[in-house]
Amino acid sequence: MSDDCAHCDGLSRSRLLHKAFAEAGRGLPSIEPGMPLPAGTGLTRRRFVVGGLGAALAVYGGAHLGIRAFEEGIAAAAAGPAQPVFVSIFLEGGADGLSVLSPQGDSLYTSLRPTLALSGGTPLAEDSRLYWHPALGGIQQLYSEKKVSVLPAVGYTHPDQSHFTSRHYWEVGATDAQLNSGWLGRYLDKIGKQNNPLQGLSLDDTLAPALATTKMPVASISTPDDYSFYSNRVWGEVEQRMLQGIGLLGDQHGDAGLVTAGTVSKQVDRLRRQLLPFQSYTSPVTYPTSDDPFPKRLAGLAAMLGLGLPLHCVALTAPGSYDTHTNEAGALSDGLQLTSDSLLAFQRDLEARGLADRVLVHVWTEFGRRAQENGDSGTDHGAAGTGFLIGSRVTGTMVGEFPGLQSGLDADGNLIETADFRAVYAAILEQWMGVDAAAVIPNASSFTRPTLIA
């Protein structure tokens, strides 16, 4: 079943698990009411449903667990050196960079944006022409703590103004319309594990294309604390057998459509087993309340990391609508506010759990918008946009500069990029994940890596 531990004897397995749950217990306030901490071990006692047995066990450190592949996966991930975690946050639709950081200090700004120009607020410490959008107080706060690196004009040469093509480029990590594995997916294909779909996790209703692999399993779940499977009038042992049946249905061969459905069936089975210990959680900080699942997903993500689940690359879509062809101001502000407030809470949550050094967040959008507003109090598709890298270990210095509206616009009136997204990806792969970017990003050698990690 498991590649990781096929050679292990019982003793080293139990040591692995022991360590795994020592990690997992850290910062996790899930002790059942009235239960004492096990003496001497420093381990918390957790409820744990063992797949296949249907039994809820009280586990001290996990030494008496039945061995299943996913448990070994957790053990291996948590017992080894802590893996860095990369979180991709996508502002879908092309967020208006010239409002995210408005160039109020640029003399052309108000004439290009007669109705949309923002005024006042806080200037960016590194470039006094640029002012923070008033909804970005949370990110601005983290910036003042040197936990945010700003990318004021990130994109690529020969910008494409199609939503789908441009986001595809960003997702696959190349300006190649034919490539159909994601850049994170290719990375996971190189270093991932055959038995761990949590290594690439979309906290969304469907899988983020950036995580699309060709070999290794990856997963998507809408909210991490609910991956339940119910069947009316099936319970106990029969229910456990039925849930195992989901995995059995995966053994398909021949027809490509059946194999596709079968493969997903197997991944569902593995993911369900991996999430069994994750029944409920509490957060050490308060997240914004919203109908949008974004803050809850981030809270769940921090809790999953706190539990020691083997997450490595994670993707989420930010709340809000950014394709602001009309009436831009209100829609943009609402989306940025919830995104920024949630990311601040997430950072504080990681700090409270002692995990902040392990997580790097990348906020991106497929393009910025036209410098000249369009007459409907909106903006049409543009080129270079704004991005952020957030985390305790970022340098906190700007990546690329703001090119200015005088000489920084191309023939179509769109902002010219001063940082290439592929250079940023290459730097993330090398400086954060610790692999050679040449194995993941096509023509990686042609991009000069910015320094992203302090």
Binding site: E92, G93, Q161, S162, H163, F164, T165, A177, S202, D205, T206, L207, P209, A212, A219, S220, I221, S222, Y227, F229, Y230, S231, N232, R233, V234, W235, E237, V238, E239, R241, M242, Q244, G245, I246, L248, L249, D251, Q252, H253, D255, A256, G257, L258, V259, T260, A261, G262, V264, S265, Q267, V268, H325, T326, N374, G375, D376, G378, D380, H381, D412
Partner: protein, 440 residues
């Protein structure tokens, strides 16, 4: 042209590709018509009859598709289940994906359903006429800002997507300048904001940019109908149209000869949709190629058709959303990603859809009365679903499950009574989520 047998298996596959799968007996009846007769009956259907229980919400009230949240979804799902013209509904679903308009940006179920009626009315006619009607359709005018596009404040949104997504394909023979010039040609649509929302959709020449535009290298004082005509007669259009339409019916691309023939057929028929669909439905690649993963609403409608259950709960709205497809809410103007319906989140949505479909019929374990025999229980569960054809790996998986679960009961009388009905319930569920029922 498919020269192989046209029997129940082929008829069943055809019914999945053109619609929502067979009701009990329908594949057999279609097979008797032969390939030509079968295709003709689907592409030239008689007047619609709605067959089966009438829809209602979970309180027993009739649906209010214009007004009640989610009833738009339920209303269309009911049409998919009860229609006698499956291809008409499936084409409407294809056009909903092709011209993907979301009520997220429109904010009116009435306007969305009016657009839906257009897809049903025009869905097998001329693509040119369809494009003209879509361009002036109120929901689309709101969705891609066509109604905000005027000579003094041009808005590129519709013009760009018309070329990129609806007619030519990205990077196919148009430039950024064409995008801007198309936007100018498309100026002139207006509407008013009223107490009851947007209204009075109209074309007002005083908002139209009457100047000369250059589109695809051609100069003229183009108006919005010219925009449509220019796109449809562009050399990149026929190849784009044929490949995109094909992809909804067959999961592997056509060979070059087929593609050329379909393009010729399309252009020579005056941009006819029906002749191209007919040719695809008779093509060997539809019958000997791989299975196609069903879109979530097709999966749902198909399960309900099999057991002759009508719409009697609102739950289908969020269940289909969980599986990745809430009707009238495509994720963006590019539509749903029809190549990636299944992942670990959407698969779980299908599990819950299957649970909801079988829920009312669940056997009561405490009443016992089922045989303690895996083979018999599997046969019974297949009868429940009216004998869907399953391949060997799935049959083996079902048998392994049933055998192990029954074995757990050994030696305990209450288990021997209660486990067989539970196993029967679980088998119905596992069959419903089996690869054969997800892809056809």
């Amino acid at each position: 042209m498919w020269k192989g047998k046209f029997r129940v298996a082929q008829a069943e596959r055809l019914l999945w590709r053109v619609g929502f799968g067979p009701r009990p007996g329908e594949a057999e009846a279609l097979a008797r018509l032969g390939l030509d007769g079968a295709v003709r009956s689907l592409t030239h259907p008689r007047a619609e009859r709605l067959v089966g229980p009438r829809p209602h919400d979970q309180n027993g009230y009739p649906l209010a598709p214009y007004d009640a949240w989610g009833h738009d979804h339920l209303w269309w799902l009911d049409r998919m289940i009860r229609t006698s013209r499956p291809l008409v509904e499936r084409m409407a679903l294809i056009w909903h994906d092709w011209f993907a308009t979301s009520n997220e940006g429109v904010g009116s179920q009435r306007l969305m359903l009016n657009q839906n009626a257009l897809f049903r009315r025009q869905g097998l006619g001329s693509f040119h006429d369809l494009l003209v009607e879509v361009t002036a359709d109120p929901a689309m005018l709101l969705w891609l800002n066509g109604g905000d596009n005027s000579k003094d404040s041009p808005n590129e949104n519709y013009g760009r997507e018309m070329m990129e997504l609806f007619t030519l394909g990205h990077g196919s023979g148009y430039t950024e300048n064409d995008v801007r010039e198309q936007a100018r040609a498309l100026t002139g649509f207006r509407y008013d904001w009223t107490q009851s929302g947007p209204a009075h959709f109209r074309y007002d020449p005083t908002y139209h940019d009457t100047g000369v535009k250059t589109i695809f290298g051609i100069k003229g004082r183009f108006k919005w109908r010219d925009s449509c005509k220019l796109c449809v007669s562009h050399p990149a259009h026929a190849p784009f149209f044929v490949l995109k339409l094909w992809s909804y019916f067959v999961p592997v691309p056509p060979d070059h000869a087929t593609q050329r023939e379909l393009q010729k057929l399309y252009v020579s028929s005056g941009y006819g949709i029906r002749p191209v669909v007919e040719a695809i439905l008779k093509h060997p690649q539809l019958y000997d190629g791989p299975r196609l993963v069903k879109p979530p609403v097709v999966y749902t409608a198909g399960l309900l058709r099999r057991i002759r259950r009508g719409i009697d709960t609102d739950d289908w709205v969020w269940l289909d959303a969980m599986a990745g497809q809430q009707l009238f809410y495509p994720p963006n103007v590019g539509g749903w990603d029809d190549t990636r319906w299944l992942d670990t989140a959407t698969w779980r949505g299908r599990w819950w859809i299957a649970q909801e479909a079988i829920d009312p019929y669940a056997l009561d374990p405490s009443r016992g009365g089922k045989p303690d025999d895996a083979t018999k229980l599997i046969a019974g569960a297949l009868r429940f679903w009216h004998e869907p054809p399953l391949e060997k790996p799935t049959r083996t998986a079902l048998h392994t499950f049933a055998h192990r679960a029954l074995h757990d009961a050994a030696g305990q009388d209450w288990k021997k009574q209660q486990y067989p009905p539970m196993v029967a319930n679980a088998l119905r569920h596992l069959i419903a989520v089996s690869p054969e029922l997800q892809a056809a």
